[in-house]
Amino acid sequence: MAEIRVEYFAILREHVGCAHEALSTPATTVGELYAELDQRHAFPALGRLKVAVNDEFCDWETPLRDGDLVVFIPPVAGG
């Protein structure tokens, strides 16, 4: 089990109802973590979702480690 922290922004923050949560997860990758949290929160289907661990973009197979900060990134709209 990894002790991790998840932060939510924009549409995901509003959907989940909080900006961050700390949890202990059996997930071994960020992709598995997304699936676990999707079960709990029923995330809205967002086409081009990206993910970051510890403030860097990463792929969905990135392994989870204790203390990681994970952020799921909905389609962006700067400018």
């Binding site: 924009a10 549409i11 992709g31 997304y34 289907a45 979702l49 990134i73 962006v76 400018g79």
Partner: protein, 157 residues
């Protein structure tokens, strides 16, 4: 000095433009993105709300400006994106580039703003006069995905 930053309050653009000045620079190109009162054919936008993942956003913005400096013969470049609630007509984003000659300044400025819009984790929520609101690029996307029963983000990147 950082080359890309977020600001929660209005700022004096002139004080940032002068930072790009340099004896070798004969050109300056700037892009200003303003808040407009309509989007994708829909009128009645009252104001916008920008939210950013600042720690990653600053890093990605810095990377984009470093890419521009490697691709184009520029002297200096800087970008600023506003966060929080913005009214119609307010400056939402600014990119400024100085260079010896105008071609590089124009090209780099265009490159930076295009990449910022595609890559920097910033989200925009529109608030309409009829009380409706929504996250740009997310709501329509969510509706489309629901129609087509997409589920895994891994399969739809």
């Amino acid at each position: 000095m950082s080359h890309f930053e977020f600001k929660r309050e209005r700022f004096d653009l002139a004080s940032y433009q002068v930072l790009l000045a340099d004896p070798v620079a004969g050109a300056y190109a700037g892009f200003e993105g303003w808040v407009r009162n309509h989007n994708e054919g829909r009128a009645g936008v009252l104001h916008l709300e920008y939210e950013g993942y600042e720690q990653l956003g600053v890093k990605e913005g810095e990377r984009i400006i470093a890419e521009a400096a490697a691709r184009f013969d520029i002297t200096k470049a800087h970008g600023i994106h506003r966060l929080g609630k913005l009214e119609i007509g307010e400056l939402a984003v600014w990119v400024g580039v100085s260079a010896a000659h105008r071609d590089a300044a124009f090209d780099a400025c265009r490159y930076i703003i295009d990449e910022v819009k595609h890559r920097v984790p910033i989200w925009k929520k529109e608030h309409y006069a009829d009380g409706d609101s929504g996250w740009v690029n997310c709501e329509a996307c969510a509706a489309h995905a629901a129609e087509h029963h997409h589920s895994s983000p891994q399969e739809s990147t």
